[in-house]
């Protein structure tokens, strides 16, 4: 009950040949920013979808705050998916209304002030925004919730380096000791100084779960360099 996330014997097989997540057991604490890292097809998104109740495990289970993933846990998990689910014709302000209705912990004022700091007009329709701006809006929506767990699937993939810095700063500024941020990415070098811990996945297996400074201390190299070594093709 002390750990925020408890994953036990978790397996997801799409069919007998395609096991996306293979028998993962892992506990993740509160108050950390954790990177979920692995090459394409290593099972990161499948794992994330199971944390959000969008896919059901074939075996095993996930508990968040001691509760099995379900309607109750969704109220405490803020999720940024790898693809958008918002329709382009909506104005940002309408999406804010939508989030207020949907999530009790959504802080509209916080979202508005973040939009303002980026000079994004809430009257704009989503489809008129650039890809990078749309990604920023979605991150703002997710980070404006007062959740226990923030799960961000590739939050920095499509944005320019300056926007990337803004996103990382947003994550740091919203950090609070009671909640954990789990984020998946390929762009390790850009974010490793923001991370406490990293999870390496390969072919659905858990390869490594340790702290960033442990890797640097033990191997004398960055997580980025170590990742390239472990996953060399």
């Amino acid at each position: 009950m002390n750990e925020l996330i408890e994953i036990a014997g978790l397996t997801k097989a799409y069919d007998s040949k395609h096991v996306a997540v293979n028998n993962i057991t892992l506990s993740l604490p509160r108050g950390k920013i954790i990177g979920l890292l692995g090459p394409n097809g290593s099972g990161k998104t499948t794992l994330i979808k199971m944390m959000n109740g969008l896919l059901s495990p074939t075996h095993g289970n996930i508990r968040i705050n001691g509760q099995l993933v379900g309607t109750d846990t969704k109220a405490h998990v803020a999720y940024l998916p790898d693809r958008t689910y918002l329709s382009g014709g909506q104005r940002i302000s309408a999406v804010l209304d939508y989030f207020c209705d949907f999530y009790l912990d959504f802080q509209r004022e916080k979202a508005l002030s973040m939009l303002q700091s980026l000079n994004i007009d809430p009257d704009m329709k989503l489809k008129t925004l650039s890809k990078g701006t749309r990604e920023k809006v979605q991150l703002i929506l997710v980070m404006s919730r007062d959740a226990d767990l923030y799960v961000l699937d590739e939050p920095i993939a499509g944005v320019d380096p300056a926007a990337r810095d803004y996103i990382l700063r947003t994550i740091i500024n919203n950090y609070n000791p009671g909640s954990t941020v789990l984020l998946s990415t390929h762009l390790i070098g850009d974010i490793e100084s923001v991370l406490d811990e990293v999870i390496f996945m390969r072919y659905g297996h858990l390869v490594l779960y340790t702290s960033v400074d442990n890797i640097r201390e033990q191997h004398g190299k960055s997580v980025d360099a170590y990742f390239r070594e472990v996953f060399a093709c």
């Binding site: 920013i33 810095d165 700063r169 740091i172 406490d196 400074d213 640097r216 201390e217 960055s222």
Partner: protein, 122 residues
């Protein structure tokens, strides 16, 4: 602006050095209040827990004091700051002599070069 960090060493150790440097160089004078962990973490673009760990390390060494009501401040023990400063100076000198040795200069030759170089600049 995010701080430049080296890739091959623990981040918290680099944060400790960086803040130490800011203290001994007088950027944070003795007795001044330091920014909060969160502010400094955001400035440096590093994880707040890592910044916290660096602060804890500096507290152990006495350079930083925590007042329960008033956040953290730089020590007003100027003698301690001087000691840390000369400790750092010694480290840089040792490293310098090591590098020169790797280039094939004896200690004596290195000192001669140093004098020459300093003379030119005057």
């Amino acid at each position: 602006m995010a701080w430049d960090l080296e890739a091959d060493r623990p981040i918290y150790a680099q944060l400790v050095e960086r803040i130490q440097m800011q203290i001994v160089s007088g950027q944070y004078p003795p007795g001044t209040r330091l920014p909060s962990v969160r502010e400094l973490a955001a400035t440096a673009a590093v994880n707040p827990n890592t910044m916290q760990k660096a602060f804890a390390e500096l507290e152990r060494g006495g350079l930083i004091l925590t007042q329960r009501t008033n956040g953290r401040s730089v020590t007003d023990d100027e003698e301690l700051i001087r000691q840390v400063r000369s400790g750092l100076a010694k480290e840089y000198l040792d490293l310098f002599f090591l590098r020169m040795q790797e280039l094939g200069y004896t200690r004596g030759e290195t000192i001669e070069l140093l004098k020459e170089s300093a003379g030119v600049e005057q």
